[in-house]
Symmetry: C2
Subunit: 459 residues, 2 copies
């Protein structure tokens, strides 16, 4: 089918102003925040109803035209890059709260609403959605559900997965399904919701989401601890978690990343291994958690432990931490930045961080590490000069060896970024024969293979 | 195939002493704790390895012989009753801890280990598995995973689903798959673990489970509040949850059930609407939670609010609550006891409890309600004299109307007991077209339809 025929067919489904084949629109939907190669879609459409998506997918299945859902574009593994061309389904304008059920601690939203914006709109109700991805200012709820995203809040509050009560999804064959209920828990039938969560837009298009919410805590305290060595900081995290501390966030940032944050954000944070923490609870409970956290940090040679309670102060701390990836990526425009996303069992966290430096040193590659230490989730920023093919190759080896090492430790290739394009090569090693079962599920849902093709599965 | 041929075939897979076709063994595996009609299997086998189960299922698929996994036998919807005969796969002797990874807060177990026994063995490590089903003294971990069970701990700690890191499963076609990793979170590939959780032994046989654990809290306090009316107690639960209380348990028991508990356990609890609560946390945090809970209860006319900290005292309180279902069932041997398991959005909890009495009154049927109020999970015990066909019929109507009402409120037919046989009739109403997708997944996993046939799906 040529582009003219394609657009003519789309005009039967969408009004002309919501279809674009301009170079600018195609380019804007050809890459995400990862380093993966851009691929131009043939056309971009902006749907407004599930019925439109149903008609589109039915048509695309009949004509074997690839369709790739696109939400925030903030993903880090090439998840929404339309590698086979075809149609990009741009979801981000579809961004309203449809129903706040304050008395049930639930909200029903369109998929394109951005995480921070959702929580901003919820604030007056005293409720919030807690996973807190690093890219909270751009990540959409639909994208978070599709990619099984989480973030700093996972250690206390759990994953996006745990908050999804209902989904409306359109299957590649056009059926519109309503999954789940408004009940806080259910043991009724197969858990199709959790099957959709993390399927990265390969099984269906998510058109509506009902989330469980949490009450904003009575008290929030942040703390920043500065350590002598990364090993000390990592060990402190392990001990704190092992002995029952449940921080709302506990993030380890190494000196290399602190340096990048300082440079990018014009700050003067102490360049040293740093733990950023937050505690949520009632007044007295938070006080005790903080005291315990300080004790553990001091036991591991923390040279300072500073707390903050005022909202602006806390925001200052967290905005520094949140900018880590951007600081590295945009602060080094002549470098390619690859971010890894391994998770290892918590006792292996110090070893995994240590290995990041060891592997990088062996290949003479610059790295920095940070991440959701409380979950055992290590992000390593792997830097390589864009004009140096050998260095780029060595950086690839570093990223691959890091994942292989994490898998050996019983970990996973990705804690929250998904498989996308970048982690396909580890699917077999991580999942073994189960990959075939996943593939059969994919074929069951998407017999023509039109939905986000080229992702998750090895060829 | 006649029984002799069947047993001969099984002898190729299992040693003779782990195969039985005696009437006693067949009868012992013909019914669960529900009122559903017993069905005799042709034979019972006790597997000891995944390889045996693989060989069995491969053979059963080839010969189209039904196989029904059986663990604690404590289910309440007929989930493991071998309604099509064939082979019962008795898992409960397979009950060891295989590996305690204390430093990772994880444990790997065989499927037949009983919930209380697991936590007893974990105690010295300071760790525990928190969902706390009502039948904790008999429910096996394999059964809990298969049925997506939870219980009193769900309101604070979440569901069994949230704790499963790895599963070994044998598919009906004989493949042995290892799903998941030791990482605390993962966004790698489709979530086959959550698809297995709650599939009630219809998609595969679970042969090994790795669970995430939690640290035992520093402090535990229990509280019992006595109210004037059930409506007051229900409203207190709603307000407490709405305003951010996170109890480790909050259970509402109505006077009818208190009376049954007193009779069965020879206790003299005040016969009145009663909330049983527990709070877990650090010393000061628990104190504050308790004070808040008391305030909310007093605001709703609680006439007493008594706390308990010593372990024996707490155990006395909880053993009373845990015996609720047994007290009703075994305390009324001349009655059939049907227990419902609906969950409604928390704001509808008072209405749902109220409806239970209204519907029962309309049909002149005796009921009592209790349940996991913090999740909106209402268990109604519906009683009918076994020798009175009309009363039995009216009791059926009560149970059905209760579920229909919960579904109308946006709830679910079952929060933790599963569909089994008893809730099949509501599948279509609750899930609509999604039932067909579930059925196609069933066919993908189990092409010959041998695994626990006759469950979950309407004919």
């Amino acid at each position: 089918m040529n582009d003219t025929e394609l657009i003519a067919a789309l005009r039967d489904i969408f009004p002309a102003e919501r279809i674009s084949a301009t170079t600018a629109d195609r380019e804007a939907h050809s890459r995400d925040e990862s380093f993966h190669e851009a691929h131009l879609p043939d056309v971009v459409v902006w749907p407004e109803t599930a019925a439109e998506i149903s008609a589109l997918l039915r048509w695309a299945t009949a004509h074997r035209v690839p369709v790739t859902p696109w939400s925030g574009g903030s993903s880090l593994e090439g998840n929404p890059i339309p590698v086979r061309g075809g149609i990009v389904l741009a979801m981000y304008k579809w961004n309203r709260i449809l129903e706040l059920r304050e008395e049930d601690l639930q909200v029903r939203v369109q998929p394109g609403i951005v995480y921070d914006e959702l929580n901003r709109q919820l604030r007056s109700s005293g409720l919030f959605f807690p996973p807190a991805p690093g890219s909270s200012d751009v990540a959409t709820i639909g994208g978070m559900v599709a990619n099984s995203s989480s973030g700093m809040g996972a250690v206390k509050y759990g994953l996006t997965r745990d908050y999804v009560l209902k989904l409306q999804v359109v299957l590649p064959t056009g059926e519109i399904l309503n999954l789940g209920s408004n009940a806080a828990k259910s043991a009724s039938g197969y858990d199709l919701i959790r099957l959709m969560v993390g399927s990265e837009g390969t099984l269906g298009v998510i058109t509506e989401i009902t989330l469980r919410l949490r009450g904003l805590p009575e008290r929030i305290m942040a703390a920043v601890a500065i350590f002598e060595t990364v090993a000390d900081a990592a060990q402190a995290v392990f001990e704190a978690i092992r002995y029952g501390l449940v921080p709302a966030a506990i993030e380890l940032v190494d000196p290399e990343i602190v340096r990048e944050i300082n440079r990018w954000e014009k700050l003067d944070l102490t360049v040293a291994p740093t733990l950023f923490m937050e505690f949520h609870g009632n007044r007295a409970g938070v006080e005790e958690e903080l005291a315990f956290a300080e004790e553990v940090c001091r036991d591991h040679n923390a040279r300072s432990f500073v707390t903050a309670e005022a909202a602006e102060e806390r925001e200052r701390i967290w905005s520094a931490r949140r900018e880590a990836h951007k600081a590295v990526k945009y602060g080094n425009p002549d470098h390619r930045t690859t971010i890894t996303d391994v998770v290892v069992p918590i006792s292996k966290y110090p070893e995994m961080v240590d290995q990041a430096y060891a592997i990088a040193a062996r290949h003479r590659i610059r790295v920095g590490t940070f991440g959701h230490a409380g979950d055992g989730n290590v992000h390593t920023e792997v830097l390589a000069r864009k004009d140096d093919p050998d260095e780029l190759h060595r950086a690839d080896l570093v990223a691959e060896e890091l994942v292989a090492y994490a898998l050996q430790l019983g970990g996973t290739a990705t804690g929250e970024h998904g498989i996308g394009i970048g982690k396909i090569k580890f699917m077999r090693q991580e999942h073994g024969e189960a990959v075939e079962l996943m593939r059969r599920i994919k074929a069951l849902f998407d017999p023509a293979g039109i939905l986000n093709p080229g992702k998750i599965f090895p060829d």
